[in-house]
């Protein structure tokens, strides 16, 4: 039998489990085009906000051994123009689109949801990973069970689309956050967002390399952190997980599946291996299946769940 990467995600059939994650290649409909041409099975928009944002001043990326730092600053053309790009994409393609939205409070998330309801997108992803907004106990929004629960719950009440909660890795107890989202009826989780943040210094000019000083880590070196958090979460919740963080080769994607991911995001690897990375990883996953005698993704086993 022909090995296949076909799978289902929240009821929609996809030809590859690889997801273009939020913010990578992601302002223009043509960024989606080229990603699916190169083998992505789902695409995610840049996180859209109510108003356009030009983001932080450059430099907004810096490389280090094992990954990159970025402080794009959520630059995006705003929800209206952003959705227009998605609709333009959807005119030509039926590949599912996740629209990512970002806000710092429930009201704004609801406003964004209303916009999204009128779009052609397939899924709504809530970027709940903001490290700069705190709840009443001084806990970052992304780490507050209550905030996560309340936002997801409110959005679920009005969203016409399945809702995905995108979680931050920088929390003490990922399981409680994941459960808070699940109990608010999130349809899926997306994890992980960038790690850290971190900083690099130019030793000649004695300045932080990033103008914003700090930026989140992505790329190969965050894979171990992603796998651990995904595995813990998979062991504790029943909703599917979009697993991402450092996936660069087919092996990494298989690790994500074994840790419990339903589908797999490939972001920073676009830099390391070109936009063809999706096709390359698809190919490598098929080779792995061939070597290890799996017919379909479903057959690839998961790790035994953590107890407790």
């Amino acid at each position: 039998m022909q090995k296949s990467l076909k799978t289902e995600f929240l009821g929609i059939t996809i030809t590859s489990p690889l997801v273009l994650p939020a913010g990578v290649m992601g302002m223009a409909f043509s960024g989606f085009n080229i990603s699916i041409k190169n083998g992505a099975g789902i695409v995610t928009s840049k996180s859209l906000t109510l108003e356009p944002r030009i983001g932080h001043k450059c430099p907004v990326v810096a490389e280090f051994e094992g990954g990159i730092l970025n402080c794009m600053g959520l630059c995006n053309p705003g929800i209206v123009d952003g959705l227009a790009e998605i609709d333009q994409f959807k005119k030509r393609s039926d590949i599912p689109v996740i629209v990512s939205v970002f806000a710092t409070n429930t009201d704004d998330f609801l406003k964004l949801t209303k916009h999204v309801n009128k779009s052609q997108a397939n899924f709504l992803e809530l970027n709940l990973s903001c490290p700069n907004v705190f709840d009443e106990f001084g806990i970052p929004l992304a780490a507050s069970q209550d905030e996560v629960h309340n936002i997801v719950k409110a959005v679920k009440q009005i969203s016409k689309l399945p809702v995905i909660a995108k979680l931050s890795p920088n929390v003490y107890d990922i399981v409680s956050i994941a459960k808070a989202a699940e109990s608010a009826e999130a349809d899926a989780l997306c994890m992980i967002n960038t790690v850290g943040p971190g900083m690099l210094i130019d030793t000649k000019m004695i300045k932080p390399v990033l103008f914003n000083k700090f930026g989140g880590l992505s790329g190969p070196c965050i894979k171990p952190i992603a796998l651990k958090l995904i595995y813990q979460t998979y062991s504790a919740v029943d909703i599917p997980i979009i697993g991402m963080g450092g996936v660069t080769y087919g092996e990494d994607a298989i690790e994500m599946l074994m840790a419990g991911a339903a589908v797999i995001g490939v972001g920073t690897a676009v830099h390391y291996r070109g936009i063809e990375v999706f096709n390359k990883i698809n190919e490598e996953m098929l080779e792995f299946m061939e070597e290890n005698n799996y017919q379909s993704l479903k057959e690839i086993p998961r790790l035994e769940k953590l107890n407790g």
Partner: protein
């Protein structure tokens, strides 16, 4: 991993009142058409084409436009700036008869390119345009090369009178070129494309004249991940698949000469 290099400015040449060439001692190993990202860590990191490049040094030629380039213009020899790259695609190196058409701050990258073309044995004609004499650059440097140079200004204050495109139109109707390269304002390149298409119709060629254009789009990461510089509808990332695009791609670009995206990704008409 692409390394960042923090370098002292080794030399500054004032080309015009608002164009300067900055030279750095560094082995960049760039190809013509490629660019670097340059920052002073004071806010802003911008792409600049390479106007000269050898094993020991390289240059960029910069027009003062806004906040960033104004600050750059205040720097002196010995001041540090930080660069990464070279990035992006480069020009096809023809061995035959080629025409280079450009204007303003976009012409110096052809100086680097012309030398490489000559090394490859090409027969090079250059149209170096500007609005007026005081904005015209690199005339003397191109003059020293073994190429045919046609200087033009819109107002006729230096070289022939007319836009670079008007001159180009004339010359491609008279001479047969194997390859055309253009670098300059987008609407100039759009006009160039029209001129080439007209010429193809006149000559009734099957293939048509082959060309490459050097594009500019707002760049942030320059390493192909942020998507800020993608061109519709192909999703070409100008920082990776560009800035030099071949005819077969250019012909498919629906946004060429129509709109570009700003730092937020919002579209703006030209």
């Amino acid at each position: 991993m692409d390394k960042r290099y923090t370098l002292k400015i080794d030399r500054i040449v004032e080309e015009t009142s608002d164009i300067k060439t900055f030279t750095f001692k560094h082995d960049l190993t760039a190809k013509p058409g490629q660019f670097i990202m340059l920052t002073d860590f004071e806010g802003g990191e911008k792409p600049f084409s390479i106007s000269e490049c050898s094993d020991e040094k390289f240059s960029i030629t910069v027009k003062r436009i806004g906040e960033f380039t104004t600050r750059l213009f205040q720097k002196c020899i010995g001041d540090y700036v930080s660069i990464r790259g070279a990035y992006g695609s480069s020009f096809f190196i023809s061995k035959n008869k080629v025409l280079l058409v450009g204007g303003g701050y976009a012409i110096p990258t052809f100086y680097f390119f012309a030398k490489v073309l000559l090394g490859a044995g090409a027969d090079v004609t250059l149209i170096n345009g500007a609005r007026t004499k005081s904005e015209h650059v690199f005339a003397d440097r191109f003059h020293e090369l073994n190429i045919k140079v046609i200087n033009t200004t819109d107002d006729g204050s230096f070289g022939e009178k007319g836009t670079a495109i008007e001159i180009a139109k004339k010359i491609i109707s008279q001479e047969k070129f194997d390859f055309i390269y253009a670098s300059g304002p987008e609407m100039m390149m759009k006009a160039m494309q029209n001129a080439l298409q007209d010429q193809d119709r006149v000559q009734d060629q099957e293939q048509g004249l082959d060309y490459e254009f050097l594009f500019e789009r707002y760049m942030k990461c320059a390493i192909g991940i942020c998507g800020n510089c993608t061109m519709d509808p192909l999703g070409l990332r100008l920082c990776v698949e560009g800035p030099v695009l071949p005819k077969c791609k250019v012909e498919q670009l629906t946004e060429f000469g129509k709109y570009h995206r700003d730092a937020s990704g919002k579209r703006h008409e030209f």
